[in-house]
Amino acid sequence: MTKPDYVLFDKDTTAIIFGNQPAAVQRMLDFDYLSGRVQPSVAAVINPSGGSKGLMKVFFGGREMVIPVYNNLGSAVEQHPEADVVINFASFRSAYNVSIEALEYPGIKTLVIIAEGLPERQTRELVALSKKLGKWIIGPATVGGFVPGAFKIGNAGGALSNLSMSKLYRSGSAGFVSKSGGMLNEMANMIALNSDGVYEGVAIGGDKYPGSTLVEHLLRYEANPNIKMMVVLGEVGGKDEYDIADALKDGKIKKPVIAWVTGTSAKVFPSEVQFGHAGAMARGEAETADAKNAALKEAGAIVPNSYDDFGDRIRDVYEDLKTKGVIEEKGEVTPQEIPVDYKPETMRRPTNIMSTISDDRGEELLYAGVPISKVIQEGYGVGDVVSLLWFKKRLPKYVTDFLELGLMLTADHGPCVSGAHNAIVTAMAGKDLTATVASGVLTIGPRFGGAIDGAAKNFKAALERGLTPRQFVDEMKDKNINIPGIGHRVKSVQNPDMRVKLIEDWAFANLPKHELLDYALEVEKITTAKRNNLILNVDGCVGIVFVDILRSTGIYTEDEIDEIINIGTLNGIFVLGRTIGMIGHYLDQNRLHSGLYRHPWDDVLYMLPDEEEVLKHRETK
């Protein structure tokens, strides 16, 4: 199955893609399917930073399939000996080494270098090596090219819509070559509009020293009997276009060539302008677009007056060749249909997830609509950030101060409480930070730290129902429920909890009205009369004061305050605050290099049932 030398790509060509480029691979496969290829054109993918091996999931038409992924070129070449093209997506830093390696594999015939910014000397060395080995390089600094209906390099040819518009799924009669990769599609479209389309299109790249030149591809097209006419888009800078003129004069190129060199505007610019491509700057008169257009015209190429009538000249040549019978009318081909990708922009489909507190899509991260730069530059505090993300409002300063106060007061409560204890035991078992914090946080609930919500809810409801403190206490006792927010293991009237005192003082000093706190203190008088440790505890105090605060802002209705409590907002203060302490305990244990914890036997009361007692029920019927 040897191909003639002038054929780089046909419908059996397969390529190895160097670089993790799922989008480019998918575009190649879409093209393949559209063109009616039996086998996808991508044999393997190299992901140099990936693991040892893997698979890339892609679509071939509507069918999902996988392409093998390797972490080095050598394995891929060995496993896929039929692939004779390497498309090198490596960055300008590593493109050279990858290219050398690719050229040195005997089975690789054509190398495409996508990267822009390769040092000129490196490219020239690659050119020398490729000539020595009799191989082709397309690029650097290109998107590549395509043979419609057969093979397409990477991203060349653009989106699916363009493949159809420019009829890239079937063969035309024109061979096209340009410097610019960006103009590849545009020109393919122009050629499709003015003739029967492109047979092969290549963009050699905008560098000063491309891996293969305009004329080298034209000579290939000249040799290819399927190509009847040639279109060239050159560019100011360099002298490659003169080689085309020479080839025309020498009779090496006999097929009609329609050529245009861009950059005619350079002459009117006030000083030297480096155009977008590295090679696009004239050094001397001969490298100007005007001089090169004139030389091509003189050598017999068809040169339009400007880019505007480029298409018309292509049409002239095409019609002429058709009249002469050189080009025969081909029947149109209907491409295979590809199921359209799901696209959020073009389809109506309800979203699954909604977010109203933060947005990372734009220029800047937003917290409830406030850009992060503003948060930092305008000196927002932690309380403000909590306020934005939990309440979607920047609440008044005294409220955010209270949030911070809550976080500080709940940050830790020694190593013996459930959360810290669990965290310490987990850390001592050698688990990581996340596991340690999680095991601690998981103890937070109705008995430990989770009473903030409960206290707020119960006290608020009682007050709203008009219960006196006494009625409330009695009612709870009748239901046999401990009042959330009341009672402490160690602290008592005689040994008050300083934290509670601090919160109360804060409330008295900062809130004009603190109705629920007053009510709770009345309740506390009743409960402590029964037992002196039935004091208002820190959870209860935080929850109750927070209700007073929310009411004082005048922002929320009672229903909204109920919702804030019911969804667990207030417990969040404890969870967030205490996480600080748990991280502390984790770090502490690690610094101490503590070993595995084992609870001592003598601290456990072992009371097992008698064995006979346990087993005897088995026998009874």
Partner: protein, 425 residues
């Protein structure tokens, strides 16, 4: 992005730093050079370089243009005080060199070199190798005497040590051939390994052990920066003489350097009435050509391009910069803004147009107030969405806007736009 000229001062610093290594210790060049700028006076330089006050000096402008003798921008064999006085006269003065007019801001001061021979040596690259050009009759008239220049090709893969330099050595018949051969070999290795694109010594001389470059011109391949940043030191790539970068151009340049995509902006005529924002290195040239072909070259305000799938944010910054420049002054005869491009390969049109729309939102009031008309033509991935969005934005913002897709010939939009501009060049 390509070969770019460096100052003679930087070229000589690189030579001084590396010639010993590349000549295996055979040659030195002390590199007694100083750069005087508006920010660093010769007094300030003389603190670190006391030879400035003791040696005989040569001073010349160092801003990437040649023929300095003809423009009276060189002073040879002068004392410190003479040089100082000369610099005071020349610094910040405006001169015309060829087609360019600009301010003199950089001067090379070097220790005066007494040479009895004026040799010429240059290295240039071509696709398959590098040329060594040599003449024993160097100096200002080298171009007139180009027929005396001997040229030897060094194939790209060849070692310089294996290349036969005899034709050159024979031409320098009265010189110490062995020393000259060793010097050329060393300089060629330096040129090649330090990724020069061009290196010329005209004139130069040498002794057994010392290289004496009187005048040096050099270009480095700036894409090789990642290979040679250490060897090049802090060599600068100044803009061509008379082309001082505007703040906005500098801003886009920085943006470009930080981005994996390409963003380029060159201001041509800030008073121009034809403004462009074109996607693609190839397409942007064709748009500029078309504006010129249609007789509006004098009105073309800017050249630039954005490509390689820039992000929405990058495109926004780029568009904003152009819109800002465009709307600084109102033109009574109206202005047009062409947002053009070919059919993209992989640049996402919807995503990049989002950035353009954001910028249009920022400048909508000014655009309306100044009666600026906007013409758009674009194709490529997601172009339907992109065009629909910008059309909607135009309506919403009340802008005078015309939107076309790939069905319109790429540059047709230019002639449509220019028909709506009064007058011409």
């Amino acid at each position: 992005m390509a070969q770019r000229g460096i100052r003679e001062y930087d070229a000589k610093k690189i030579l001084a730093k590396h010639i010993v290594r590349f000549s295996n210790g055979k040659f030195t060049y002390p590199g007694k050079v100083a750069l005087v700028t508006p920010d660093k006076s010769i007094e300030a330089e003389s603190d670190e370089k006391p030879w400035l006050k003791t040696d005989k000096l040569t001073v010349k402008s160092d801003q990437l243009f040649g023929k300095r003798g003809k423009h009276g921008l060189i002073l040879v064999g002068a004392t410190y005080n003479e040089v100082k006085k000369w610099l005071e006269e020349k610094m910040n003065s405006t001169v015309e060199v060829g087609k360019s007019r600009g301010k003199l801001t950089h001067f090379l001061v070097q220790s005066f070199m007494e040479v009895d021979k004026e040799y010429y040596l240059a290295f240039t690259g071509h696709r398959n190798g590098d040329y060594i050009h040599f003449s024993r009759a160097g100096g200002v008239d080298i171009e007139a005497n180009w027929d005396k220049v001997i040229t030897i090709n060094v194939p790209i893969a060849a070692k310089i040590e294996d290349v036969d330099l005899t034709p050159i050595l024979n031409a320098a018949r009265d010189a110490d051939m062995e020393t000259l051969g060793a010097l050329i070999t060393a300089l060629f290795r330096l040129y090649r390994e330090l990724q020069f694109g061009f290196l010329e010594f005209n004139p130069f001389s040498f002794t057994d052990g010392e290289f004496l470059p009187v005048d040096t011109v050099a270009r480095l391949d700036d894409t090789a920066h990642f290979l040679c940043s250490e060897e090049w030191g802090d060599a600068e790539f100044p803009v061509p003489f008379g082309r001082e970068l505007r703040q906005e151009e500098q801003y886009i340049k920085k943006l470009d350097e930080k981005s994996g995509s390409s963003l380029k902006l060159t201001m041509l005529n800030p008073q121009g009435r034809v403004w462009t924002m074109v996607a693609g290195g190839g397409a942007s040239v064709i748009y500029a050509d078309t504006v010129v072909d249609l007789g509006f070259g004098g009105e073309l305000a800017n050249y630039g391009e954005y490509s390689g799938d820039p992000s929405t944010g990058e495109t926004y910054e780029y568009a904003k910069t152009i819109l800002d420049l465009m709307t600084r002054e109102k033109s009574e005869n109206g202005k047009i803004f062409i947002i053009g491009g070919g059919i993209a390969n992989f640049t996402d049109v919807a995503k990049t147009f989002d950035g353009i729309i954001m910028a249009l939102e920022d400048y909508a009031e000014k655009l309306k107030e100044q009666g600026i008309k906007i013409y758009i033509r674009r194709g490529g991935p997601n172009y339907e969405v992109g065009l629909a969005k910008i059309r909607e934005a135009g309506r919403r913002l009340g802008l005078d806007m015309e939107v076309h897709g790939p069905d319109l010939h790429m540059t047709k939009v230019v002639s449509i736009a220019l028909k709506n501009l009064n007058g011409g060049a």
